[in-house]
């Protein structure tokens, strides 16, 4: 479906324009104005993204809302954008989270407000661009550009060790993407001068180059997901990032890696993907099992959730490389649900951190006595993080485990251990923080969540429960595209 109205472009550029407007408000004297412009911009960004969902045709796997204009003809690069069932939900997720982080930072961020708010808006637009790009150069531009605002967000508003974390984040991601750039240039050469991703899907590639291209893609996306053993930047970045940064990082930026696998690695190099699938699956299972155990040992709440993110994203890569519908759809559902749950978990930690300025589990205890409403929300999200049936966390993991049973019992067995470790690390943390006697005078002085915080957590709770009880709208949207992808991947391209 291609309408005359450039809806998708608007979804990409509107937040960026508002972001620039927020920057233009200048220093902190205009902080109030900056906040309001940011809120209006992010809400508008979300509202105009809604027609993308309502106008989406779930019966086809073809690209929808496409737009294509020549960008620079010298290299045959086009401004070519469009969405299918895989990218559309991710764009909606991103547009949904932008107002969330703007509201979350509303009172907390007091320094350089316009830069903070502006960076999030610009990032939102850039990430939409990544999901919508159908041209490899356009994709790469958005992909790399998304590093810049996040680098600044971690580095400027982060914790004590923020510089190390920001530079590590930037360089790790850049390493992967630069190799991907070489792979894309190689594809441009072999395809006879095209940067269209859809052309690459049809391009036959001999086995040896396919392996190399796959490895280049794999490095780029595995760093972003992040998979074991290139995950070490994530805990550092999360711990040091401000709450809003952590939320966007976990909820949105990690999904870029997963999306990359579905858009690039699997369809462009299907034979290499099949050939190396067992390796990827083993790495994913290590993430699920081993990182789960590491999470158990953490004393810092944010670090714990960061490691649990790595473990949950292990399910995503596991699902992709099972090459069956349960696996891939389950992995997609897991991506969306992890977005809501990890976002909510980081917001909860942020609520505590704003009051006590500590992320150490040991500094808390007995919070339920002082913050009952907060404890209830945190309970729900902790349960969802542990994969309790009825929450969205269960659906994705269950589908991926179903998918892996079809391949091998042991894959499924190892993956299923997460239901135990996940529950252990999440609930143990919950117990130590929330229950027990009031641990210190600081905890004694805690006040329960404000209306603003209540509103944020309530909205997220609704989505976590909704997709847990009734995931059909989600799977329906992606069904046609996933089927098409599976068909495509099962055919050799040699």
């Amino acid at each position: 479906m291609s309408s005359g109205f450039p809806l998708l472009s608007l979804i990409i550029w509107l937040p960026i324009v508002f972001g620039v407007a927020v920057f233009a408000t200048g220093n902190d004297r205009n902080a109030v104005l900056a906040r309001w412009i940011a809120l209006v911009g992010s809400l508008l960004g979300f509202l105009i993204a809604l027609p993308l969902g309502s106008g989406f045709d779930t019966t086809t796997s073809a690209m929808q809302f496409t737009e294509s204009y020549p960008w620079f003809e010298r290299f045959n690069v086009n401004y070519h954008i469009g969405v299918d069932g895989i990218s559309m939900p991710l764009i909606l997720l991103n547009c949904f989270f932008t107002p969330i982080v703007v509201i979350a930072g509303w009172e907390v961020i007091k320094e350089r407000v316009s830069q903070y708010m502006g960076a999030f808006l610009v990032m939102s637009g850039i990430v939409n661009g990544v999901f919508a790009s159908l041209d490899a150069v356009l994709f790469y531009v958005f992909w790399e550009a998304s590093l810049i605002p996040m680098f600044l967000i971690i580095g400027v508003w982060g914790g004590p060790n923020r510089v190390y974390a920001a530079i590590k984040f930037f360089l790790y991601t850049l390493l992967g993407s630069l190799l991907m750039l070489v792979a894309l240039i190689y594809l441009y050469q072999t395809s006879g001068g095209s940067f269209s991703i859809l052309d690459y899907h049809q391009l036959p590639i001999p086995f040896a180059p396919q392996i190399l291209i796959f490895i280049a893609f794999f490095l780029a996306f595995a760093v972003k997901v992040p998979m074991w053993p290139v995950h070490t930047w994530l805990p550092d970045a999360h711990v040091e990032a401000p709450t809003g940064g952590s939320v966007i990082l976990a909820a949105i930026l990690l999904k870029l890696g997963g999306y990359g696998f579905l858009r690039f690695a699997l369809p462009i190099t299907p034979d290499a993907s099949h050939y190396l699938a067992s390796t990827v699956i083993v790495l994913s299972l290590i993430a699920v099992v081993y990182i789960g155990l590491i999470a158990l040992m953490q004393t810092d709440m944010k670090k714990l959730i960061a490691y649990s993110s790595v473990a949950h994203m292990g399910f995503v890569t596991l699902g992709f490389f099972l090459f069956n519908a349960y696996g891939i759809e389950g992995a997609m559902v897991q991506m969306i649900s992890h977005g809501f749950i990890s976002g909510a978990m980081f917001l909860c930690v942020g609520v505590l951190y704003d009051r006590l300025h500590s992320r150490q589990i040991a500094d808390y205890g007995g919070v339920v006595n002082k913050m009952p409403a907060f404890a209830a929300f945190f309970m729900l999200f902790a349960m969802a993080n542990a994969g309790l049936p009825g929450t969205s966390g269960f659906v994705g993991e269950f589908m991926v485990i179903m998918g892996s049973v079809k391949i091998s019992f042991w894959y499924a067995f190892l993956a299923a251990t997460t239901l135990i470790t996940g529950a252990a690390y999440t609930l143990w943390m919950y117990k130590r923080v929330i229950f027990g006697a009031v641990a210190s005078p600081a905890v004694e002085r805690l006040e329960d969540i404000s209306k603003r915080e209540f509103f944020l957590l309530a909205i997220l709770a609704i989505f976590v429960l909704w997709f847990g009880l009734y995931p059909y709208p989600l799977t329906d949207v992606m069904h046609a595209s996933v089927d098409h992808l599976l068909n495509h991947v099962s055919n050799s391209k040699l």
Binding site: F75, Y140, V141, A145, G155, V163, L171, L174, V182, I185
Partner: protein, 481 residues
């Protein structure tokens, strides 16, 4: 025997600038201490006049004059226009810097104009002798510029180093040229190509000559392992002069390489390709790795220049118009970024204070958010992050390299530029993550303010819309002789 006067028209802008050099010197003599700006304004007018002359004479025809020693083609015109723009920007940026340091004198401007003339001759030369004359005119003016603050020990040392090594490089170049002359019997660029093609020359002697020529070129481009002078000269020179050395001469050097290696010795591509590969990889490695250890911003940018020149050489390796045009695009992008970066350094200098350490960037975003943002754009562009122009420059070169079948080279190049990203990020870190050590306000003149903002925007906008500049680069290459 009739004397037929040569056709002066193709060289009109060179002749004009030579007249203007004399006018500037005389006017400055008469203007006296209080009216130093006269020389400045006259210099800018000279550049503007040259631009008009070059623009009016712009055509796709190739016209040769002075017995074929001088050529005027579209590539020369485009390169010259870029040189004028760059020199004009250098003067605007450095105006208040040199005024504060007592260098605002006629000598400065006449030397800059002489250097510009040298560059123009290099770009338009089609004979080894004219090439050499242009190169020496440029080099000697630069030596003098570096030494202009004669009571500064550092500057004098830098000038000595620059002069000795530069003279050595010129010696190499001349020796190589004499070998080539011995093998072929001609110094005309066009005839040379024909003679080598007809294989009427001794291959061995030619190759030996080529080695010396490539070594000489590498000196001038500051490509490793002939890069040693660059960090010392960059550090020792007054920043305004560093800016000049680091920017416009690279455009001329590009023209020089085109005339010498591609148009003259293009038939020997198989021989120089291998040399350039080694030079390119070494430059990128040495430049990027050594830059990490620098605490002096000018030294750091010198090493960054070395690594960028490695990338430019990479563009030549593919030996087709695609590769050459990407190298030209790269040079232009590099010049744009260098101009901006040094302008910011001069902005941080105050009266009696030289900003030289990377620590001087500390907390720039709190001192002045706008210039910090411009510097952010410049640094990201130098690191090759999209959507800045530096990314497209790298993309174009890498594409040409992969096209020529050197995919391993492309991988080495991206890995080395990953190392490079680190030290640009460090500047961003200092600007944005650290607190300022001084609260001294940054107060540039309004012309610097406008130009620097435009420079920053150009880095971004030419990155988002690179089509026109890429087309121009290709056009220039396709319409060279």
């Amino acid at each position: 025997m009739n004397f037929i006067p040569p056709d002066f028209a193709p060289a009109s802008s060179e002749i004009f600038i030579l007249i203007m050099v004399c006018v500037v010197m005389l006017a400055d003599l008469g203007a006296g201490e209080s009216r130093r700006y006269v020389a400045y304004l006259l210099t800018q007018m000279a550049l503007l006049g040259c631009a008009v002359l070059t623009f009016l004479s712009f055509s796709t025809d190739v016209s040769q004059t002075f017995s074929g020693m001088f050529v005027d083609d579209a590539m020369a015109d485009i390169l010259k226009l870029m040189v004028y723009g760059t020199v004009a920007a250098v003067l605007i940026y450095s105006h208040s810097y040199i005024e504060d340091r007592g260098m605002l004198r006629g000598e400065f401007f006449s030397l800059v104009l002489f250097a510009t003339l040298g560059m123009m001759v290099m770009i338009s030369a089609s004979h080894f002798l004219t090439l050499y004359i242009g190169l020496e005119l440029l080099s000697l003016s630069l030596y003098a510029l570096v030494a202009l603050r004669r009571d500064s020990v550092v500057a004098t040392e830098a000038a000595m180093k620059f002069f000795v090594l530069g003279a050595l490089a010129s010696g190499f170049l001349l020796y190589g040229m004499s070998m080539v002359y011995g093998a072929t019997g001609t110094l005309h660029v066009t005839q040379l190509a024909q003679i080598i093609q007809s294989e009427a020359s001794s291959k061995e002697v030619l190759v030996v000559g080529l080695v010396f020529i490539v070594a000489g070129i590498s000196f001038k481009l500051s490509a490793a392992p002939f890069h040693m002078w660059a960090p010392d000269v960059y550090e020792g020179s007054p920043t305004a002069v560093t800016l000049f050395i680091g920017s416009a001469p690279k455009l001329a050097a590009f023209g020089f390489v085109m005339r010498l290696l591609i148009e003259g010795l293009g038939e020997m591509v198989a021989d120089w390709q291998g040399m350039l590969i080694i030079l390119a990889v070494m430059s990128m490695a040495v430049g990027n790795i050594a830059a990490i250890a620098q605490t002096n911003i000018k030294r750091m940018l010198a090493y960054s220049t070395i690594s960028h020149m490695g990338f430019v050489l990479l563009g030549f390796i593919s030996a087709d118009s695609n590769g050459y045009s990407s190298a030209l695009f790269y040079v232009f992008a590099y010049v744009l970024m260098t101009l901006g970066s040094f302008a910011v350094i001069m902005l941080l200098c105050r009266f009696g204070y030289e900003a030289e350490n990377i620590e001087d960037f500390k907390g720039l975003s709190k001192r002045n958010a706008w210039y910090a943002f411009v510097t952010l754009l410049l640094m990201l562009s130098l690191a090759g992050i999209p959507p800045m122009i530096g990314f497209y420059a790298k993309l174009a070169v890498l594409q040409a390299v992969v096209n020529a079948g050197y995919i391993e080279l492309a991988i080495v190049a991206v890995l080395l530029s990953l190392i490079g990203a680190f030290y640009y990020l460090r500047i961003i870190k200092l600007m944005y993550f650290d607190d300022p050590e001084t609260s001294e306000p940054i107060l540039p003149n309004s012309d610097v303010k406008i130009l620097l903002s435009a420079n920053g925007f150009a880095v971004l906008l030419l990155g988002i819309f690179p089509q026109a500049l890429m087309g121009l680069s290709l056009y220039a290459i396709q319409n060279s002789m």
